[in-house]
Amino acid sequence: MRAAKSKGFGSISWTNPRLRSLVYQLLAIGGTVAIISFFVLTARANLERQHIASGFAFLDHTAGFGVIQALIPYTEESSYGRVFLVGLFNTLLVAVIGTVFAVALGFVIGVARLSNNWLIAKLAAVYVEVFRNIPLLLQLFFWYFVILRPLPGPRESIKLLPDVFLSNRGIVMPAFGSTQATLAFVLVTLATIIGVIIMRRWARKRFLATGQTFPDGRLSLALLVALPLGAALIFGAPFSLTPPVMGPFNFVGGWHLLPEFVALTFGLTVYTASFIAEIVRSGIQSVSKGQTEAAYAIGLNPSQTLRFVIIPQALRVIVPPLTSQVLNLTKNSSLAVAIAYPDLVAVFAGTVLNQTGQAIEVIAITMAVYLVISLATSYAMNVYNARVAIVER
């Protein structure tokens, strides 16, 4: 847009650039509005002619079907609006867990690819090339149909740990419950975390002021383990475990992880991590070798060099493309429908759309949800990026 050095509007003539650009812009806006109105009115007219219900009243109607995994209370008598929330939370669950694991795994693999150890570097390279170059849908099919499906049935489950079983119905583990000691345990843990944060702030301030180091890393780890453990020893077991028992068909009680959930989360993690690994590698390689040599020259050891010199500079290169990968992971979670995981697309844009027939409303809501999730993720990553970005003085 042109710089506004306003001297009034100027002459009413086609040679006046300000007037001309205003006319063009009005035409563009008018054209856009006209096109959208045409689509909207055509859609409405056609819906009315075919007597297809429209509007959002269906969200209050009873859904009447079951969903295999719901993070919020849900029964067949709940409304379609409730089904929407169930699907949304199932999508967010996969997105959040997948993102955390993918970023962690991606960093490890990315650093491993630059390792001086030949074997580790080559293994990391093979990992990246294999998982980056096979379509995600195929990988999901592989984990779900090839790896998890042929597992034995619940009665012949594989015992992973005491009371933790793996079968073709997923992973079953004891359910955690609260005891009299839970409150004390949680309070002690929270207090420890707050204490550790305060200590680290103090240590950093002292370091910046005096240059004296303080073993805050090791100390905070020790505190985080020792204090909650001590609380558990004094007050008794903080959690009760209710082991699953064999019912007529499957384990009853305990916590169940669906194989569909495991396959989807695992597949998304492994696939996205391969891209993140490459981003991390390129970020680290973008920091010139002179930086490392300079760090060694002032007496930093390799791990300090990585932590204080390389990573902060690498992050500036890593964060923007990392945002794209996090967004991709969230959007790719909609492939859930292929392996029957009840995510937003499967239950809402699938079953609800089919039961109500209100394609326009359901698809619009679904698209708006992904748009909002993506924009929110972008915003959060941009805020983080602003923190790690180079500070120009």
Binding site: A45, A53, G55, G66
Partner: protein
């Protein structure tokens, strides 16, 4: 992303939503009658505009687009040469024969249970003949008309004999595989709720996926319409080790459907179905249709167009029903050829026998 761009996109979305819900609707509602007189040329282009005169659109195109399943033996299933067969496919052929006098002028569009309604609403297909249950919401708020019932079905369960289960009442706590976007999901929920039992549903998008999930032990039971259970049991690894439970938990009247708002097209489809049933009722078969044209019975003469011109009232020629029966035979012949006792499915006529033989098949007279 550029903030201004984001604001622009969000603005467009909100603007479109606002237009959609607050703009006044299109003036007078367009009735089927006015559309029929103006004809298709007066309507703007686009698939949904075809809702006006489906018959004219189909004629101009030269073939019927018929939505069928992605493969359900006995109903609509392609063979190894890609030729479709089944009771639903034969109905598509019957409608093509009524419209064109030629049963081969059909293109089949295999659709998942989830996609079938959108395909019909959007005008991608002219007719949905895909083992679809006639229910009130589908007939009303989805904007469809059902032609009638071509197969009376009901939902049942399939279990492995090794589980020792012999009744659906023993399924408390079971994981059950089914297909997403079907009435089976709803019936199952109603049944278990009514019985005070719990269950877990694993809903796949495709029939074969949910069947294989059951076959490989991911689920304890598989549920769909009883006809489908009999058909799909055949493609399990070891059909003999599975048992269809005796309970039928729902009414599933399956029938062909079309978009609401085109009364002429609805009449064509509906009366094609009635002609098939009437033909069996009157003893007109694929083999004797030529002979029957000279019959003395007024009912038969009217059906075959030897007397009166009933086809012309629905935009077809007088002999439309004769063309239909020449092409696919009467209802009983179709049944016996596709799902009947002599086919691998071996389903007895039961509810689908003619009314005079103790079944429910009954068609209004052609006169």
């Amino acid at each position: 992303m550029n903030n201004r761009l984001v604001a622009f996109l969000v603005g467009i979305v909100i603007g479109a939503a606002a237009l959609y819900f607050f703009l006044p609707g299109p003036g007078a509602p367009i009735t089927a009658a006015t559309v029929n007189t103006t004809g298709p040329a007066a309507k703007p282009a686009g698939p949904t505009a075809a809702a006006g005169s489906t018959l004219a659109t189909v004629r101009a195109r030269g073939y019927l687009q018929c939505g069928v399943s992605q493969g359900l033996p006995g109903f609509s299933n392609p063979n190894d040469k890609g030729e479709w067969s089944g009771i639903d496919v034969d109905f598509c052929k019957a409608v093509a024969a009524a419209v064109f006098g030629d049963a081969t002028k059909v293109k089949y569009r295999p659709l998942s249970a989830k996609d079938r309604f959108t395909a019909l609403q959007s005008g991608e297909i002219d007719l949905l003949s895909r083992n679809t249950t006639w229910s009130m919401s589908r007939d009303t708020s989805l904007g469809f008309d059902f032609a009638g019932v071509i197969y009376y079905d009901g939902q049942g369960f399939l279990v492995k004999k090794s589980t020792g289960i012999t009744s659906a009442a023993q399924l408390d706590g079971a994981t059950i595989c089914t297909q997403t976007g079907t009435t089976t999901e709803l019936n199952m929920a109603d049944y278990f709720r009514g019985q005070g039992m719990t269950y877990k549903v694993l809903a796949f998008e495709k029939n074969e996926e949910s069947l294989s999930a059951y076959d490989e032990g991911r689920c304890d039971a598989y549920t769909t319409d009883a006809s489908g259970l009999h058909a799909q049991k055949l493609i399990l690894k070891t059909p003999d080790e599975h048992l269809v439970l005796p309970e039928i938990i729902s009414k599933e009247p399956l029938g062909p459907l079309m978009r609401q708002g085109d009364a002429q097209w609805a009449d064509i489809v509906r009366w094609t179905l009635f002609a098939l049933i009437n033909a069996e009722d009157l003893g007109v078969t694929q083999g004797n249709v030529e002979l029957m044209r000279t019959s003395q019975s007024p009912d038969i003469r009217r059906l075959l167009g030897a007397e009166g011109a009933y086809g012309e009232a629905i935009g077809l020629k007088a002999e439309w029903a004769a063309d239909v029966i020449r092409a696919v035979g009467n209802y009983g012949e179709i049944y016996n050829r596709t799902v009947g006792p002599d086919t691998p499915l071996g389903i007895p006529r039961g509810l689908n026998a003619l009314w005079k033989n103790g079944g429910l098949m009954y068609a209004p007279p052609i006169r």
